[in-house]
Symmetry: C2
Subunit: 380 residues, 2 copies
């Protein structure tokens, strides 16, 4: 095995864990925090919960909420200005991947200067970031535990992947109670995003036993709990999805992802589609494409999907992918690219933009843009 790294934040996990936020901020020396969130979290009441708690603990709070789904470069720069003007010393990100990635971008610009575009790719961040605490409100992005940050370059219309050890926050507070207020569509999209994180990172060229064990935990928990989380909003099932998302984040942060995410970033930059809705469409097709390069690992995934059975790796891999496709169809989400894109004229451009994405490097099977086009056509 090659030399490998495994770095995660301190994780505080459980229903009600949000109550430890001020204590954690104090531990990091906070006196004035910048809270980054979005209108959805405001409406659900969680922004007020946090503001009240910070106030009770005499922590000054500046608030930034100009965050889109697929956050934009100019939003990061505007937030960094607020960080500086407010004299903040700790950044708190509350939300799905978008507010948390915005918070990461703000931290980068506040401490390193420049434009967020300067940091695209791996290991471009040179100066230490301000202390960060993240509180995820979806069970999907995993951004609260990872060294990834995704921001849209509005001029090039592409989602930039920024990867750095320093993007791992100090503390991630994961409170499954925040999931209860989510829509069905957001729960499905988030859970399948987490499943894609787990599967892509399990198959990654940089996977290690430390990441593989977390990836397999995530795969099992999502397959066992997504259905009942959707049907009954069972708090225990939602908690399991939260555990899965966190475990998948620990895995992909350290092992990287694959071409499913390269294509999702490229599609998201061009068409502003909800990130998690791309994976039910692409994941099975990409698993078929990758199988030749990682047959025995694909069989392990097949075994998780199908349960234990005595058959060859080939059959386990193939039948696992087919069953996954059936499961996705059962969730009532789009399963063809044509269902979410206006037309297929942009596909060549999408695929060419996806090749240099940082996630392509760790894909188990090498690709060029024509391979990606073949995948998109198979998924059309």
């Amino acid at each position: 095995m090659f030399i490998t790294k495994f770095a995660i934040p301190e994780v505080i996990f459980g229903k009600g864990a949000i109550k430890y936020l001020s204590q954690c901020a104090g531990r990091l020396g906070a006196q004035r925090v910048l809270l980054v969130s979005d209108p959805g979290l405001e409406n659900a009441g969680w922004v007020d919960v946090i503001k009240d708690q910070l106030k009770e603990n005499a922590l000054h709070c500046a608030y930034f909420s100009e965050v889109n789904s697929n956050p934009r470069d100019w939003q990061v720069h505007k937030g960094a200005n607020l960080y500086k003007e407010s004299g903040a010393d700790v950044i708190i990100g509350l939300g799905g991947g978008s507010p948390i990635d915005t918070a990461k971008g703000i931290a980068v610009i506040a401490s390193n200067g420049g434009r967020i575009n300067d940091f695209e790719g791996a290991n471009k961040i040179m100066r230490p970031l301000p202390p960060m605490i993240f509180i995820p409100s979806t069970a999907g992005s995993g951004s609260d535990v990872t060294q990834f940050c995704i921001v849209t370059d509005m001029e090039r219309q592409v989602k930039m992947t920024i990867i750095s050890r320093s993007l791992v926050p100090n503390i991630s507070i994961i409170d499954p109670n925040l999931l209860v207020t989510k829509t069905r569509e957001l729960i499905v999209a988030s859970a399948i995003d987490a499943l894609a994180h787990a599967i892509e990172s399990f198959l990654s060229k940089l996977a290690s036993p430390f990441t593989e064990s977390q990836a397999l935990l995530a795969i099992s928990l999502i397959l066992e709990n997504l259905q009942s989380a959707l049907e009954t909003r069972d708090p225990d099932a939602l908690e399991k999805l939260s555990i899965a998302s966190t475990a998948a984040g620990m895995s992909f942060s350290n092992a990287g992802l694959g071409i499913g995410h390269s294509l999702a970033h490229s599609l998201g930059g061009r068409y502003d589609v909800l990130h998690g809705l791309v994976h039910p469409i692409l994941l099975p097709v990409i698993m078929k494409f990758n199988t030749v390069a990682c047959r025995s690992k694909m069989a392990v995934i097949g075994g998780k999907i199908l349960g234990p059975r005595f058959c060859s790796d080939d059959i386990l891999a193939e039948q696992g992918i087919a069953e996954l496709q059936r499961l996705f169809q059962g969730f009532g989400v789009a399963t063809r690219l044509r269902d979410i894109l206006p037309d297929d004229r942009g596909l060549e451009h999408i695929c060419k933009m996806a090749v240099p994405d940082a996630c392509t490097v760790t894909n188990p099977r090498p690709v060029d843009w024509t391979d990606l086009l073949g995948i998109c056509e198979a998924a059309w």
Copy 2:
């Protein structure tokens, strides 16, 4: 599930990883380091490897090596004096559990003052410690990733358990090449210590899915690789034991241990026996004692030991423990307490000292000293 924490250091793992030490120390702001190790590591040449590397990178190095197996309170205080006198700013611990626990103790006293005995128990360390980097030379203690520190109180003749989040180092550099120079006895004792960490923490009252996945990874890897690591010193098998020890450390640091370690600490404080040689004797007896409180989890462990088979939890649990006992006998280590103790007159005292150990709290079945005496008698 209750609110749980999962905190580990940044882990750099792999053959040759030791070459990153100076770079890591630089990242933590080091100019003058205190290196803590012992004569065994000196003889194996590793201390010189590190001193040379630090010198090449213009890092001043003070060196402390007055470390016993079962390190002593006065050794910690002497090392803390050297830390201060040498003007060190980063502590590097190189070795098995003993030099690393000594390094932790030095870090506590250097930053918090007082006597090491003042910090016995959980969460008694109030001020931040100096940056720490640990390089384990055995695949067993896991101390390089954990929030545990074990130091012997020479007056009371007891191994004190000190637990604090701040004892997790900044970075753990795990290089399986260091294992090649170990004796057969040390490899067995270390691996069975790691196995005890994995099993006890898997059964702990504070176990979470994050710790359980690492514990099960460790159990599988040790059972699959210990035999060939001993027979052939196969570097791949030694690497797997290293992964297992690290994974077990991640698990027990966050989930805690059980009465096997309470008794091992008590025995080690009184008789100075090699810690890892206590577990092959006590672990199966304690697993039998605990089964009533955690039958289905004991069956999961049984399944790992025996491989998949269709039978009841009761039978899996029972047959797994019996098979583990047979495996230990095959390794040629002592399997009865009478083989390692001079007589049985001290047992009552040993058991009374073990009850207040921090590891007793997380044992799945509550105990008093008479329960522990029953276990020691069954293992006599």
